[in-house]
């Protein structure tokens, strides 16, 4: 009886010791892992969720403790994130900025604190603050979309444009790339150009008001896919989805599916996973000692249409 009691005591002690050892090991392991911050302009858009989650996943794969910070398209929130991550001992930042000019100070602050920043997808207007910037070639992508727009909509008629956030360079690189083509055709008249702030609900709202003022438009060029989906929804409600050609930009899954279904004409595939993974690998290389990174790295954009849509999906090209 006494032997049984002693055995039970010993087993309980062994189990407790094992548990304590495991917990201590896990805690030590987590504490030992260097931290990488993933600061994303907004997690209220599926495309950016993919960008942020992929960057985080790749950083974890590379042996880091990664945390996502959502700036909610607010430079003040973004600044607070930078204050926190610098104080929190993060070793690198994978950064999707909210504002090309407004975000520079945050990057400079991190640099001064010895924390390298790798911009993903969105640019800051500086060549010496970030360690590297991996940017979609929005301009070239929209040159191609502009050429397709003319081919699809024709060389005459009215059209509208939904711009993204006006403080973001991508907004203007996309718009300028598109206009570098369509403006060469005097018969194509832009009757409305308004910001839908890269947001689906705002895109819907803006498109509704454009349709009331300009019911005869033949096409709408949207600076991202969320706005394209919003615009398409407005067109369906107005019974004009068959008359107005919708063009997006991003390569979001719902738009790729809509292209396959013939609802949206085309989008520009930006490869967010590729950019996020590469940026995480850059951060890893920096932490391990590499210093010579190209400042601005263009990532090509591919046009997705009904003809080639089978090659694309899951925010990239199918293997």
């Amino acid at each position: 009886m006494k032997t049984d009691w002693l055995k039970q005591m010993f087993a309980a002690w062994l189990a407790t010791a094992a548990m304590l050892f495991t917990q201590t090991s896990i805690a030590q392991d987590a504490a030992a892992k260097p931290k990488i911050a993933v600061v994303i302009s907004t997690m209220n858009n599926p495309w950016f969720v993919v960008l942020g989650e992929t960057a985080k996943a790749r950083a974890i794969e590379l042996g880091y403790d990664a945390t996502i910070f959502d700036s909610q398209n607010d430079t003040a929130k973004e600044a607070a994130h930078f204050e926190n991550l610098i104080a929190g001992g993060f070793k690198a930042v994978l950064f999707n900025p909210t504002d090309a000019n407004g975000s520079i100070a945050n990057v400079e602050k991190a640099k001064a604190a010895g924390v390298p920043v790798f911009c993903i997808d969105r640019e800051i207007n500086s060549t010496n603050a970030a360690t590297s910037q991996m940017l979609s070639d929005s301009y070239s992508g929209c040159v191609k979309l502009g050429q397709l727009f003319v081919k699809t909509v024709g060389k005459d008629g009215e059209y509208a444009e939904l711009l993204g956030i006006v403080g973001d360079n991508n907004t203007w690189n996309r718009s300028k790339g598109f206009h570098s083509v369509v403006d060469r055709y005097p018969g194509l008249k832009m009757v409305a150009q308004q910001s839908g702030e890269f947001d689906r609900a705002k895109g819907l709202e803006v498109m509704e008001s454009i349709l009331q003022a300009h019911p005869d438009i033949k096409g709408v060029f949207c600076g991202n896919d969320s706005m394209a989906m919003g615009a398409y929804q407005a067109l369906v409600t107005a019974g004009k989805d068959k008359d107005v050609k919708v063009f997006g930009f991003d390569g979001a899954d719902d738009v790729v599916k809509s292209i396959a279904e013939g609802k949206i004409v085309a989008t520009g595939m930006q490869f967010p996973k590729k950019m996020a993974q590469q940026s995480a690998e850059f951060a890893d290389q920096y932490i391990k000692g590499k210093r010579d990174f190209a400042q601005k790295i263009a990532v090509p954009v591919e046009v997705v249409t009904k003809e080639n849509v089978s090659k694309y999906g899951d925010y990239g090209k199918k293997p």
Binding site: T127, V143, W172, N173, A294, A298, P300
Partner: protein, 213 residues
Amino acid sequence: MERLTTWLVGIVITASVCCLFPLFHIVTLKTAAAEKAAATFNATQFAETFWTNQLPAVFGKAVNADALLPVIKSDTAAAKKKFSRSVGLSEGYFYFVSGSGRVVAVSDDEVLLAVTDGNTNAEVSLQTGLIFGNALRDGTGLLSANDYPNSQDFNDISAALNHLVETRVLPKLRERAKVGAKISFVGCAEVEDEATDLKPLKVIPFQTKTQKN
């Protein structure tokens, strides 16, 4: 009296400090606009300087079409590796190419040339329609995105260079390009799809000259 002196001394000190370190500057709207314009990147002006000063100096570095085309024909990958340049993570690439050939056909958007000895088929297509994209900006390797804080400025250079080609090169080329004429060229070719962009090689010309037979 003593109080008045203290006040006067105080006023004089304050005025002196304000003169030395003014709290604000008055600038006319005209001057402010001029300062803003000076600080803004002028792509047209930049392209003009680039066109006149930098570009002609590197024409001699362009790969000769006589050397390039046979390699493209026999081993596209080897030609890409040896003679092309690419930007960022792009799978597409550029050739900075020169050469001369005989005009074999002319259409609204292109002048087709037979370039290599004994060949009568179109091997180079000089683009003569509307010029879009970044081939001229990126094809020579002289300009880099790393030098431009705002990519909008860098992209504006493309539009400005395209405009220069459309207004200064293409009108003369269209005028002189008759079937049988011999034309020399220096330009850039962008290859995105090897199946369509290489045969013939689509070149946007910086310069063309008609040669005597």
